[in-house]
């Protein structure tokens, strides 16, 4: 068990998510994690459903998509190594805000929401290590959304 935890922690610290995370926190976190491997095309999160797991991508890529009536699914963001998915699991309502689909075979360290919440509640130092990283993920979502709203690369109508 101990060896598995160390292995998971080692994998985690190879990503930006835990690159500068204190080792003991990484290990205590890894101890409640589960290594999951998804084939390409797997839905890891589904929009509108209860999000039961928070995951960190160790290797792979996930497309976060929204379904638009009449248009179909649109990818609003892709996330890669070290990025978080399923952070809605940390919220009381735990309703996923987008659908996450793997674009390539993807390996992730996944945390079930109840043990994770309990670990963070009992250990503020773990919570204070995790939440800034969650905020990075949320910030990325916001930045991507803002960029899309601004539609920076569009062409306007010009006199020339």
């Amino acid at each position: 068990m101990r060896a598995m935890t160390e292995t998971l922690c080692a994998l985690l610290t190879q990503t930006w998510f835990a690159a500068d995370m204190p080792e003991d926190i990484c290990e205590r976190l890894s101890a409640i994690g589960e290594l999951k491997e998804y084939p390409a095309g797997a839905a890891v999160v589904s929009e509108g459903t209860t999000c039961r797991e928070l995951g960190v991508i160790l290797h792979g890529r996930i497309a976060l998509r929204l379904a638009l009536p009449g248009v179909g699914e649109q990818t609003i963001l892709t996330i890669d190594d070290g990025d978080l998915f399923g952070w809605s699991a940390l919220l009381p309502e735990s309703i996923a805000t987008s659908t996450g689909v793997t674009l390539v075979p993807t390996t992730a360290l996944v945390f079930d929401r109840e043990p994770l919440a309990a670990l963070m509640a009992a250990n503020p130092e773990i919570a204070s290590a995790i939440y800034p990283r969650v905020l990075v993920a949320v910030t990325r979502r916001l930045q991507a959304t803002r960029t899309q709203l601004l539609d920076l690369y569009r062409a306007g109508h010009e006199p020339w």
Binding site: R61, Q74, R140, T147, L152, Y153, G156, W160
Partner: protein
């Protein structure tokens, strides 16, 4: 060269001066009363001078009043300035013709009239010099302006009265005249003390056969102008003003004055130094013949700072008033080594709501004001203006032939142009050209490839001119002017890692940089390319970028803003490609091009990665109408983007980069 030995011209003999001035075919322009104000106009004789009139001025007020004296120059400055003659409101630039595939664009021949300007005041001499310096700057200067100025003979008159709106004393431009004129007159009741400033002026005065001025007359003239100086005082303490003003870019007074300002542009039109212009394009009905004219414009115009993509860099009156005031009194020093204001007071008198620039300056940048951050250190032009990296002087109106047109996306095409002009073939990566089809607006287009026999231009169709360009057929001709601007400083990256970030059409000016770097691949460390696009369909040079991805000596990643489920690549903003990448930014030189908002985000991320401002280069988009720094459209703080850029380092731009309203 003002002669020490003054002569005297009796009032009764003044017409002899008119005769001497016109003897060699020169026409005389001077002050005369028209519709209740004194303006400069062509004179049939000196009888048309404003004898017995003075002008009372105040903020928003100008009234002629009789003096009861016989003096001709008992006023200060008229409503119009001399730029009406040296920098006319409309000047023909080119005549073009499109005959099938053939295009001919020719510059209109310059034939400046020989004029004598009579009644030029000290502040106006300074204005002529200042505008002349601005129009001679840059790679080409403004040929029409230069020719008109060179052809003029200046007969100056020292002020004998002071208007309430005068502040030449503060600007160091008057009221005494110590040069810059061919002939200098000081008006006394009985006549004129005459000095000469040039050989041309001496030639005219010698023909008058005048006797010497009495020392008492010269003394009276000196006391007269001395009294004017005392009457004006020093209403705008100029010492340190340029620095104080640029430290007050966020002063609340800008918004306050904007509430009063109508943005009518009167101040810039009457200003003797304002030189901003636009290019007006006209076409005949069948689109065969086209003309371009240079026309006065103003930084107060709503669309003056507008660029592609409906962006407007100075959308608010507050922005435009700040631009005008900070240019006149601060950044003009960086660009031309002097103040841009001569203290003539026209902008005060002719402001319909009576905004007094002296009051605004003293409120926004008073002596002793707490200093805020200064976006650009004040430096004289010699020390700051980045030397153009072009190795050759830009060519004018070179005809190029379209060899092929390749559509990169639904609205963007690459024109492969063949030409034999050495200047254009010597273009540097990052430079641009002005592309002209007769009858259409003339867009600045970045060079997207430099070939031994021509240039590639990648153009997005966003309006009539660009639509016409991307729809040209093989064999069609276009007219080019360039190469213009500073290119990428490739040498700055020798021995270093290279990070290149491009967004959207921004990949076009980046591509010649990639070509140049790969041509000298061993001189660089690791090369990393990060490309952003709106959607997968909007990516440029797809096959070429895919080929680069197959190389082992560089890394390339791309990302799009949005995509359907068929897209297996990355989606998000371009910084996402490298915000957690493992490379060391302290060893890297970065180059980027894209929408400004994308570049500010990229610059922030690069800074966090350790790339210094000195090693971070970008190319800016502004409204570049002339391409050589004489129209004013693309001004950004102390820079003209077309002339000093469009490539800048972040260190050069300082906090000007990304600052709203500049």
């Amino acid at each position: 060269m003002v002669t020490a030995s003054a002569r005297f011209l009796p009032r009764a003999d003044l017409d002899r001066l008119f005769t001497a001035l016109t003897a060699d075919g020169r026409r005389v322009v001077g002050p005369t009363v028209v519709d209740g104000s004194i303006v400069h106009d062509e004179l049939a004789s000196f009888a048309e001078l404003p004898k017995g009139w003075t002008a009372e001025t105040a903020p928003g007020a100008y009234r002629l009043q009789p003096t009861g004296r016989d003096r001709l120059f008992d006023y200060n400055v008229g409503a119009t300035s001399w730029k009406r003659f040296t920098h006319p409101s409309i000047v023909p630039l080119t005549r073009g013709r499109r005959d099938g595939n053939q295009v001919v664009v020719e510059a209109v021949e310059i034939d400046p009239p020989k004029l004598a300007f009579v009644g030029v005041r000290a502040c106006e001499i300074a204005a002529l010099r200042i505008q002349d310096r601005a129009m001679r700057a840059g790679p080409l200067g403004d040929a029409d302006h230069i020719a008109r100025g060179d052809a003029a003979l200046v007969v100056a008159v020292e002020c004998a009265v002071a208007a309430s709106t005068c502040f030449c004393t503060s600007m160091g431009t008057g009221p005494e005249i110590d040069g810059g004129a061919d002939i200098i007159l000081s008006e006394l009741d009985e006549g004129f003390v005459v000095r000469t400033g040039t050989d041309a002026g001496a030639d005219v005065v010698d023909r008058l056969g005048l006797g010497p001025a009495e020392s008492l007359q010269s003394d009276r003239a000196a006391r007269q102008v001395g009294a004017v100086r005392a009457a004006i005082g020093d209403p705008v303490p100029a010492e340190g003003l340029a620095t104080r003003l640029r430290a007050a870019l966020d002063h609340p007074r800008w918004a306050e004055v904007a509430d009063r300002c109508l943005a009518c542009a009167n101040c810039t039109l009457v200003c003797p130094t304002c030189f901003c212009t636009s290019v007006a394009v006209a076409s005949d009905l069948d689109g065969v013949e086209g003309t371009t004219d240079r026309t006065w414009d103003s930084c107060f115009s709503q669309g003056f700072g507008r660029v592609a993509g409906d962006a407007n860099f100075r959308p608010k009156v507050k922005d435009r008033y700040r631009q005008w005031l900070t240019h006149k009194f601060s950044t003009w020093w960086d660009q031309f080594g002097s103040t841009g204001c001569v203290g003539c007071g026209r902008c005060i008198a002719w402001c319909p709501v009576g905004i007094d620039v002296r009051e605004e300056l003293n409120a926004i940048a008073p002596i002793g004001a707490p200093s805020g951050p200064i976006p650009w250190p004040l430096s004289p032009i010699e020390g700051r203006a980045p030397a153009p990296l072009a190795t050759v002087e830009p060519a004018a109106h070179v005809t190029a032939t379209v060899r092929s047109v390749s559509f990169e996306t639904v609205d963007t095409a690459t024109l492969e142009l063949v030409l034999d002009d050495p200047a254009l073939l010597g273009s540097r990566p990052g430079q641009f050209v002005m592309v002209e089809l007769p009858g259409f607006a003339i867009p600045p287009i970045s060079i997207s490839r430099i070939r031994p026999d021509g240039l590639n231009l990648t153009i997005r169709s966003v309006g009539p001119a660009t639509a016409a360009l991307v729809n040209l057929a093989t064999g069609a001709e276009v007219s080019l002017r360039g190469p213009l601007g500073r290119g990428w400083p490739i040498e700055a990256a020798y021995g270093r890692d290279v990070v290149i970030v491009a967004g959207g059409i921004g990949l076009a000016p980046i591509r010649p940089l990639i070509d140049a770097i790969l041509a000298e691949r061993p001189k660089f460390g690791a090369i990393r390319l990060y490309l952003g696009a709106r959607t997968p369909r909007d990516r440029l040079f797809v096959a070429e970028m895919n080929a680069l991805a197959g190389r082992t000596d560089l890394e390339i990643e791309e990302i799009v803003d949005r995509a359907g489920p068929e897209w297996q690549g990355k989606v998000g903003i371009v910084t996402q490609l490298f915000d957690h990448a493992p490379w060391d930014g302290t060893r890297a030189t970065a180059f980027m091009c894209g929408p400004e908002r994308m570049m500010t985000a990229t610059a922030n991320t690069l800074e966090h990665r350790g790339v210094t401002d000195e090693n971070c280069w970008l190319t800016l988009e502004r409204n570049m109408a002339c391409g050589v720094g004489t129209c004013g459209h693309c001004q950004l703080g102390p820079f003209f983007v077309c002339r000093d850029g469009p490539v800048f380092s972040l260190a050069e731009l300082g906090s000007a980069f990304g600052l709203e309203g500049l």
